[in-house]
Each structure stands twice: as structure tokens, then as C-alpha cells.
């Protein structure tokens, strides 16, 4: 069990989301940076889709009530009992120890995974908190000081006592995720249904940089910049949407839907962000700048494969390390043993 010691608003329990119910209006939710959550889970020996904590308001502190294997990934400066942890790191926390997360200057959200995963009820196939729908997680709300979280049984596994880290994806996959010289975030997208309606403004959509406004959250990012407007106004029939869709309301400043995206919309859509770049957008901070880069379907395939290979590599390596430790120590020296789920 773990106890939340100190938490601002908007930190939630998330897994990889609740797809499959968009046709009844239920947003998928799930981690804003699913890649970071997957890696955190794999580091502690979980299935990549186990539930963890998404921290987006800092500082955040929790106390371990028993010996617990945990990992912190994404954007955060993490300390246990005041000792700084390396980034993207797994280790064991002892009963009574406090894990503290402070903000990172470069990324917006951190993920904490625990061996066994956070054990809250599954609602419509997922443990993710739906703040809009007020269900999932703990009664559909964000974590508060004093909350206690039960953990599931962890799979029998051997983990290095001193901890284990991975190379973060932004570095490991640097050749696939280029950075602009002025540190503007480059986000790849394809033109969407109403792109042609924007005429010359459509070109400017790609060429100018956009600022992520303070009116941005898990539902969507509002972008500030010189407005782009369609050459004629259209009253659209409502259509299904997905995270990454870039819609343009009448004011001309685009909105990118994120993990808590509406499931349907009616604004003209100018572009759709590639899935492989969504986690980077999920880590973009309010006030930072981004530029959309016109991409191709083929590039989307290449990026998907690169990200999948990175996840597989982490999974295989962490399993290999676990097997090696087991072999060295003999079957009796297992950090934590539980029933297979």
C-alpha cells in the first residue's frame, strides 16, 4: 500500500486508456505520455498497460507502507528520502520512505509505476481516471493528500537491488525525433478533412510557430498565434474524433485534442498529429512553442516501428536482467514474490 502525502490538483491514476466506447461518447483517457507509462511498467516487471500515477502538478509526495518496487519516468526530478534518483529509473522503496517528485524544466508530466500496478476497480475495461466523466481511478477524481492506494500482486521477478534505468526515448530515438535549433517542438501531422478550406492560411499553419496557451489540459491544448481561418464558414455535421486532431474554432486559433479528448466534434479540422508524436505533445509545457511539420503516411509507419522497437528492447532487456539475477542468486533470492494474475 502507498499513501499520498502531498498532492496538488490534477494528478490522476492512469493506464493506457479506455478505448472501445467512443461510440457511446466515452473518452479513452489514459496517460498523456503513454510511452513513459509503458517503460515505467516494464521496468518494474508489470504488463506495459498496468495502472500508475500521472503527476502533472508538483510537488508530489507519497510514502511507501511496505517494501515496494517502483519506477519514475517522464519529466520529473525525483528524490527518495532526499536522495536524487537518476531519470527513468527503477528501484525499491522501503516501508516508511517518502518519494518526492519536483517539476522538470523540460517536460510536463511524470509517471510512477509500482510492481503489481495500482489496484483500483476496472470500469469499462480500464483503471484510468476520467475526470470529465467522473468515474475510473478513485471515484473519477484526482489524487488527494491522505489517499491510500492498494497495489496488485506483482509477478515473481528478480530486480537489481541498486536499481536499473533506461535511456529515455528522446535520447534513444533522437534520430527519429529531431529537435529544432531554437528548441521549438516539432510535431508531425497530416492534413485532415477541411485542410483545403483554409487556402493560404493552410500553408501558414505549418510555417508559423504556435504557443501552448494556459487554457490547455488533458482534454486539449489551445494554441496561440496568428489565426488561421477557412475561406468560407461551414456548419459541420458532428463527426468522431481522436486525440491528435487539430480543430479550428471560429476564432482561428487551433485546438489539439489530447488524452481526455471529446469523442465527437463539429469544428473544421486542419490536421491530425501522428500517433508517434503524441507522447511528445503530452510532455509539452504550457507557454512553450511548437511547429507542425507536414508528414506522410510512410513516415508514420517508420516512426511507429521505431517506437515499438524501443519498447520491445526495454522489455527484453529488463527480462534478461531479471533472469540473469535469478540465475546468479538462485531461486530463493527473489525481491518480491506474488501470485501470477
Amino acid at each position: 500500500m502507498i499513501e499520498i502525502v502531498d498532492a496538488g490538483p490534477l494528478n490522476t491514476i492512469q493506464d493506457l486508456g479506455r478505448p472501445g466506447y467512443r461510440d457511446i461518447g466515452v473518452t479513452a483517457s489514459g496517460a498523456m505520455d503513454p510511452l513513459a507509462l509503458k517503460i515505467a511498467n516494464l521496468l518494474v516487471g508489470n504488463d506495459q498497460g498496468a495502472a500508475g500515477i500521472e503527476v502533472q502538478t508538483f510537488p508530489f509526495r507519497l510514502r511507501f507502507r511496505e517494501t515496494t518496487v517502483f519506477a519514475v519516468t517522464g519529466g520529473a526530478n525525483a528524490k527518495i528520502e532526499g536522495v536524487v534518483l537518476p531519470p527513468w529509473w527503477m528501484q525499491t522503496g522501503d516501508a516508511g520512505q517518502v518519494l518526492e517528485l519536483l517539476p522538470s524544466p523540460v517536460a510536463a508530466r511524470a509517471y510512477i509505476a509500482f510492481a503489481g500496478g495500482v489496484d483500483v476497480p476496472i470500469v469499462m475495461g480500464s483503471r484510468s481516471t476520467s475526470l470529465r466523466g467522473a468515474f475510473g481511478g478513485i471515484d473519477g477524481r484526482f489524487l488527494q493528500k491522505g489517499d491510500s492506494l492498494l497495489l496488485g500482486e506483482s509477478l515473481a521477478t528478480a530486480l537489481p537491488a541498486d536499481g536499473l534505468g533506461v535511456v529515455p526515448p528522446a535520447i534513444a530515438l533522437a534520430e527519429f525525433f529531431p529537435v529544432a535549433p531554437d528548441s521549438t517542438l516539432l510535431i508531425r501531422a497530416l492534413p485532415a478533412g477541411e485542410y483545403d478550406l483554409f487556402g493560404a492560411d493552410g500553408e501558414r499553419f505549418w510555417s508559423q510557430s504556435w504557443k501552448i496557451s494556459s487554457q490547455s489540459d488533458r482534454t486539449g491544448y489551445r494554441l496561440s498565434g496568428e489565426p488561421v481561418r477557412p475561406t468560407e464558414s461551414v456548419e459541420m455535421r458532428s463527426y468522431g474524433i481522436v486525440p491528435g486532431v487539430v480543430q479550428v474554432p471560429p476564432g482561428g486559433e487551433p485546438i489539439v485534442q489530447m488524452s481526455d479528448a471529446n469523442t465527437a466534434g463539429g469544428y473544421p479540422k486542419i490536421a491530425g498529429v501522428l500517433d508517434a508524436d503524441l507522447w511528445r505533445l503530452g510532455q509539452a509545457r504550457i507557454g512553450s512553442r511548437l511547429r507542425f511539420v507536414r508528414s506522410s503516411h510512410a513516415e508514420a509507419r517508420t516512426l511507429d516501428k521505431a517506437v515499438a522497437a524501443y519498447v520491445d528492447d526495454v522489455r527484453n532487456t529488463s527480462q534478461m536482467v531479471g533472469r540473469a539475477l535469478k540465475t546468479m542468486a538462485g531461486p530463493q533470492r527473489v525481491v518480491r514474490e506474488g501470485k501470477h494474475q
Binding site: 461510440d23 461518447g25 469499462m124 470529465r132 475510473g136 478533412g193 458532428s238 468522431g240 463539429g266
Partner: protein, 220 residues
Amino acid sequence: MAQRRQAQISTIGARAFLLQAPGDFDLPAQRRIWALAHALRQWDDLGEVVPGMTNLLAIFKTTPEDPDVVTTRLRDAWERAESIDIKGKTIEISVHYGGEHAIDLAALCDRSGLTDREAVRLHHEGTYTVFALGSAPGFGYLHGLDPRIHMPRKTVPSLKMVKGCVTIGGMQTGVAVLTGPNGWNSIGFADLQMFDPTAAVPAIMAPGDTVRFLPERIEL
């Protein structure tokens, strides 16, 4: 003979494809969308099928190898989709027209040239069909709104429209199921629980259902 117009197919990112039915915003088009949704739910490589208002979003589990092949498959499925007539249930919703939640009724009168009483009457005399669900848990998009009270979405959305507001968005109408930002125009209020995540069937409305609004109270 006039050439039959083709469905439009566009993408949102590399994994989601939106098919828009050609022609009018009407029940025959929606019946074919329902048939298409039924057919597509048999495709193994599709993760989700989201019928909209005379359109359908098909979300693939992984990025398909060739988008042109997908477009052709979707177009063929659309051409083969026969009309489905869903025999839905009838849902009666009591409405308090006017009053504090009808924040856009005056604007509707200005635009339509109708009196508030006429606008309200046209709304509650209509018979509506649930075309699709979406936007918020259990929210039903209703078709059948009298063209005289069509009303474009607002340029500046209301930041906190209250759950239960009876609204008009373009040629669609519905009842807000969450309190929050909303670009539709409110003309009244209904007290009805539309969604229960723990129920076997979480949403009260389903595509093909008929909805009637009963004027419980008119406060103008």
C-alpha cells in the same frame, strides 16, 4: 441520370479514416451509416468504429500499410451498405423551456424571427431520431430539428453550460450530459440521468431511438 456522388474519405493522423456520406442530412443516409458500422465491426484490423452524423470514423489498431488500400476498402463497404432500419425505443424527456438555463433563446428568436413561444413550440412538437452518440458519455445527437430553428454553434462557447441544458447546434439538437464548455445554444432544461458507467448498458440512448420532448413548463 444524375451521377451518384461518392462518399468523401479523409484521415485524422495516419490511423483514423473518416467517411462522409454524400447528399442530404437525412434518415436514409444515416441508415446506411448504421449498416456500414455493422459491417465494419466485423473487420479484425479495426479498433473502433464511431458512427457520427451521416459520417463514420474508422480507427485502425495499427497504422495501415497503405492508406489507398484502406480508402478503397471503405468505399467498397459503403457502396455495399444497405439501409438498416433500427427499431429503437421511444424516450420521452420532460423539458422546462425558458427560464434561467435558456441563455440562448433570445438569440434564437433574433436569428429566426420567431417569437420565443413559436420557437419553443417548434422544438417540442418535433419527433427526433438518435443518429449517433458522442462528445460526452451518453450524449445523443438528435436529428429532426425544424429548419426554422436551426442555429449555428456559438463563436465563443459558454464556459460552464449546465448538465441538462436542452440545446441546438446547427441542425442538431440534444441534452447536455456534462457541465462544461459548450458551443451549442441552450433553450431549456431537462433533469434526466443519461449515463451510468457501472450499468450493463451505460448509455440510455442508442442509435435509432426516438426522442420526444414534453413541455413540462414554459417560462418566457
